[in-house]
């Protein structure tokens, strides 16, 4: 290992650039420097699909338990997202029954269908609506509240908590204010969860909270709470962004939209949307022992960053990756990650946003149009999506 070079160091890429327009940078890196230490972020970037998958599939070397991230402070807890091995598995299994296809089919999908109708009913016709705020965000919040077992939380509360946790977890500058905001969110969530726990003990249901609380050998309450919170942090912005991204993609490719409608391939449109702009663009792993990636020595103690956004555009796997194309022959994207931490909500996302909402939305508003695609703003380095989506519903 000692004769392998360390990855080159870049001192020019800024966080602002990555937040505003990362894709051209990732394209360049894939070609010129697929393993690159990026000073401004303090991480070794991996921009090729194979390397990202290798890291995610090898938890023995690449650990999720990074003590240097602000996540613990933000969540006031050690969540399953930052654990490895059997402990991680145990906590993951504890909530799995609420997220598995059978439960989705029996409970969440029918509920989502009803909610989709309700939320579509509320959209005003005959004017330009910001679909991102008016639909994508609230429907994501609402279904998640049910799945988690906290339906008494309002959409606004869920959305605030989610953003507060994300901002706190992403507070790598360790500024005080984002933690004050996440502290407030935690106080509110703790209070609401205390009441919800009593309720699901008395009246068990299929929700994540209920299955965890009422399990025969429950995991500690601190972990039940922590992992409900991680689901709030990770389960709203992503389906929100996914829906908005896919709608944008279809509205700017009317030929594809027509064909999707004709063939009913909403699932393919979903997969393409999350490939094209991955809602979670990058993830970190702590390197536990010296390892080689693509001829470079990655030393123990380094933190690598798998850039899913870039893996999803890897020219080795995808033709014309920068284009939204719902009819790709193959779509081996990593939007949901890979390995033991593969997104626990992937089935939910596919069977709600993909299988229900897209079709319902375009059926309800067949003449929906995007009056000015240029006005849609894309933002985000760690998480990415449109921050607005003004559509004319017709």
């Amino acid at each position: 290992m000692l004769d392998l070079p360390i990855a080159p160091l870049d001192e020019t890429i800024t966080i602002d650039q990555l937040t505003l327009a990362p894709y051209p940078i990732y394209k360049r890196l894939r070609a010129e420097a697929p393993v690159l230490r990026v000073k401004s972020v303090g991480r070794t970037f991996l921009t090729r699909a194979a390397d990202c998958k290798f890291v995610k599939d090898t938890p023995a070397i690449f650990s999720s338990d990074d003590p240097n991230t602000p996540m613990k402070r933000a969540f006031q807890a050690h969540t399953l997202m930052r654990k490895d091995g059997p402990e991680h598995m145990a906590e993951r299994m504890a909530m799995a029954p609420a997220l598995m296809p059978k439960t989705i089919q029996e409970v969440w999908a029918p509920l989502y269908r009803k909610l989709a109708d309700d939320y579509l009913d509320r959209l005003p016709r005959g004017e330009v609506v910001d679909l991102h705020k008016a639909l994508s965000a609230p429907i994501a919040a609402r279904i998640l509240a049910h799945i988690l077992g906290i339906p008494e939380a309002t959409d606004e509360q869920m959305i605030f908590w989610s953003q507060a946790l994300i901002d706190g977890a992403g507070n790598f500058g360790w500024l005080p204010e984002p933690f004050v905001i996440s502290d407030h969110a935690n106080l509110e969530m703790d209070a609401l969860l205390a009441r919800a726990v009593e309720r699901v003990r008395a009246e068990p249901d299929r929700s994540a909270l209920s299955v965890m609380v009422n399990a025969e050998n429950p995991i500690p309450m601190s972990q039940i709470v922590a992992n409900i919170k991680i689901a709030i942090g990770g389960g709203i912005n992503e389906p929100r962004d996914a829906l908005s991204t896919i709608v944008y993609g279809l509205l700017t490719e009317p030929g594809q939209l027509e064909e999707v409608r004709r063939t009913g391939k909403w699932g393919a449109a979903f997969e393409e949307g999350v490939r094209w702009v991955a809602p979670i663009q990058a993830s970190s792993r702590l390197v536990l022992e010296d390892v080689e990636i693509r001829g470079f020595h990655i030393p123990r103690g380094d933190t690598v960053m798998t850039i899913q956004a870039s893996a999803n555009h890897d020219e080795e796997l995808f033709d014309h990756p920068e284009r939204f194309d719902a009819f790709r022959a193959r779509n081996p994207h990593q939007a949901f990650g890979s390995g033991p931490h593969h997104c626990g909500g992937a089935h939910v996302a596919r069977r709600t946003v993909g299988a229900i909402m897209l079709e319902a939305l375009f059926e309800r508003f067949p003449n929906m149009a995007l009056p000015d695609p240029e006005i849609v703003m894309w933002r985000g380095f760690g998480f990415r999506g449109p921050i607005n989506l003004p559509v004319a519903l017709g």
Binding site: F160, A164, L175, P176, E177, V180, D183, H184, L187, A191
Partner: protein, 396 residues
Amino acid sequence: MSLDTPVLPRSGLDPFGIDFFNDPYPEHEKLREAGPVVWLERYGVHGIARYAEVHLVLNDWATFCSSRGVGLQDFSRETPWRPPSLVLETDPPEHDRARKVLARVLSPLTMRELRDGFAEAADALVAGLVGREIDGIGDLAEAFPLSVFPDRIGLAREGREHLLPYAGLAFNAFGPDNALRREAMARAAPHVAWVTEQCRRENLSPDGLGARIHAAADSGEVTPDEAVLLVRSLLTAGIDTTVNGIGAALYCLARFPDQFQALRADPKRARNAFEEAVRFESPVQTFFRTTTRAVELGGATIPEGSKVLMFLASANRDPRRWDRPDQYDIARKTSGHVGFGSGIHMCVGQLVARLEGEVVLEALARHAAAIEIAGPPVRSYNNTLRGLARLPLRIR
């Protein structure tokens, strides 16, 4: 841009800087003289320092709204540091529903209930200070409100040391991301945790004012979650403000001995003496509003979504409105000052403040022959509040 468009006067003033806090009055005058609206370059906001404009803005809530925050942060663009206040950071109709509850709990009828207890406590406290050298802040301006108000709210006894730091944090938070705000945020966690807990119904005494707020949830006027936030409003704005108000009154009376003698001669003037101190020192120095549309003000057009900084303290000394504004005069007709604001958001706790001020000054008028400054006062710095950290006084 046409040649007819008036160019706003500009100022490089930092209205949240220590130099300014030490002596804001010359800068206030410069702002007033520069024009009815001044562009404050440092933070990119419009400033108004004259009485007429401040009064107008306070009374046009639809154009100059509060729901986008009354500090520098625009809530439509940034996450507020805590869940917004239901009464301070809302507009009608949501505002009116919340305000109605607080106004009832802090009504003149409630003041009748509180008066005797407050007066007794003030009398006992002040009597014990006569003939001594004291810290007017620690021994009186802080001691009195802390000795009466938390009990009346029904707060637990343990942890009350969090009250003043929490309020200081909240008032610092209205300001820019400067050292004062950052330091307050860095120390916030324990204060936030305690205050948030104490607002819950189960932690409040059933015969206190906090319980009355929660009772409004029983009748469906507000939700239980909303009641919690309304109690939080009391804790945020109900103590540090009165500490600085009473401190202001003591500082005024000590600097203007003839006015203290006038008060001694007629202790019934105590209430107005306190009111005049609020005008003169303006414990709450500034607030922001955000425009909901493009608006003409003082000959300038302010675009939609602009933050407007109101210098309440400057309006309270604007010679265009006040005769001899820099004189502390307990006989002055103070009605119309903006130390408690004006319009629909005018301080909902003003009666509590006046009651506290009145009983303390009345007790002083009856017990003390003179109040003298006995050493250099030490200023307390906060992005919104004006007050002293220490005021050495001799009470004879």
